[in-house]
Amino acid sequence: MSASAVHSLWTTAAPIDKIDAPTIEYAQLMPTLIVIGAAVVGILVEAFVGRKARYYAQMFVTVVALVSAFAAVIGLAAGGHASSEAQIVAMGAIAVDGPALFLQGTILLTGLVAVFTFAERRLDPEAHGNRVDSFAAQAASVPGSDSEKAAIKAGFTTTEVFPLALFAIGGMLVFPAANDLLTLFIALEVFSLPLYLLCALARRKRLMSQEAAVKYFLLGAFSSAFLLFGVALVYGYAGTVTYAGIADVVDGTVQNIDPALADTMGNDALLLVGGAMILMGLLFKVGAVPFHMWTPDVYQGAPTPVTGFMAAATKVAAFGALLRLLYVVLPGLRWDWRPVMWGVAIVTMLIGAIVAITQTDIKRLLAYSSIAHAGFLLAGVVAATPSGISSVLFYLGAYSFVTVGAFAVVTLVRDAGGEATHLSKWAGLGRRSPLVAAVFAVFLLAFAGIPLTSGFSGKFAVFKAAAEGGAGALVVIGVISSAIAAFFYIRVIVLMFFSEPKAEGPTVAVPSPLTMTAIGVGVAVTLVLGVAPQYFLDLAGQAGVFVR
């Protein structure tokens, strides 16, 4: 098509005989549709259901939605869409294949467990005879103002968190499945925006919560701007935004380049710069150094259940997208991006581990640990082998449950000011309530990658993949940094078990079955994946192939 012809596109109203309606494979998209639909329903509930009933209604809608969505995922997988039937749907916008389904399943389960912790209302003492959860009574009311007191007195609760969470999950479901850059961008925004809001909704320490939200929002928007610019550049390079199309151009299978476009089409500078910017957007989401700095602040400020949800689900989704981008779009550029990712992985592992050593707040500690883990995952990504993909998938599955569980435990340890997150408060916890301390110790050991925990299986899987991929040095550095990391996990254990409990120490709230389920699931997954990971490794192994 010549430039002049293009010009006619919008100068003359050329008669467009017909626009054939896009074909949408609803069945394959079912999980996403269910969740988004439920989210919409949730909003209607907010609008029409009475205050008292909302909580239960929302709970019901959310749980049903997530469970059925998960069922749909299973159905698709059983239908072979994870392997033989894997295909690209919705006019090339979304891929339904092994990795997508595996990650969607993981996200849905994590989300479900996280939603349980959202719904926990037994931790704080009742305010004016109303059960309260971890969220502000009325986000709009100024902290400490009369309106807030009034809201509390009236027993308001921010049940909007459930639809928000659903929207976020919806976006996350699409993110790793996105098969063109536009969908990628939209999905990113769809799950980011609700998270920004959720961060701002903490019941206690609202100033910190709002600050976290602002930082997260500004930086997130900043990064997405970069991502978008990257999208634009890559579009400029390839003339299309579908992964397949770009890949073709990258591989040089497209030859007929219009002389008019010679300076853009196939201009590698555009591709490389754009690709780097898109990578940056994704690395921001996974919290890789040097795009990690939002992580500690946001993790600390956000309501703990939200933190757990973010830490787990966001990472899963983002790594899914990252994998797809690198393995489907840019395999032709492996020799360009691999060294770069090497560097990112190394600094991420080391910085995360080292800075965590001197942390004094349990939530920040876990934030940095999550950064270090991002580094380990990147090591698996760098492997650039099928076993690399499957190992990352497995690691994500293992890691997300541990994270949700760990943050769930954090919600239990409370004092007058809400959660007692300062480490000094945790001294002697093992004496006061051995069980909680033991459970948390299990999670910490899993983070540290001690054998017989899921953490070890995952770490072994990614390092093995990396080594097979010829990244031996990366493995060694990973090993060193996990040695450093071990130091601060152990510090917490020492604190809990070997130091005398403080007189005015925090109390450990007895949670409702909701949180108990969350923690229980966490422990179960940790141990099962630690002792007998074979089944799940197989799962991840079969799921480890992208469709193009």
């Binding site: 098509m1 701002a200 500004l218 579009y235 003339g239």
Partner: protein, 99 residues
């Protein structure tokens, strides 16, 4: 003139926006700078769309506008609430959490 110039302009706008984010204190202004960056992206997309002679770029531009609008909604909500509780919209004042 060659459409490539539009690209340079867009890049310039993007850079300006980014710089603004880095140097301005007021959260609103920072946010506006981000909008500017998004718009720079739009310009880029449209230009490329023009050069490639297909509509994808323009479509994306529309999406971007929608997203930007959504961001405004969410962003303003957050910023305003922060402003109300602190009586300041300076991003530097919001530094309770550090180290």
């Amino acid at each position: 003139m060659s459409p490539v110039n539009y690209l340079y302009l867009a890049a310039l706008l993007f850079a300006i926006g980014a710089t603004g984010v880095l140097i301005r204190r007021n959260a609103i202004v920072v946010f506006m700078c981000i909008e500017l960056m998004l718009n720079a992206c739009n310009l880029t997309l449209v230009t490329f769309s023009r050069m490639h002679g297909n509509l994808d770029g323009q479509i994306i531009a529309f999406f971007t506008m929608v997203v930007a609008a959504a961001e405004v909604v969410v962003g303003l909500a957050i910023i305003v609430s922060l402003f109300r509780s602190r009586h300041s919209a300076s991003v530097d004042d919001a530094s309770l959490m550090k180290l």
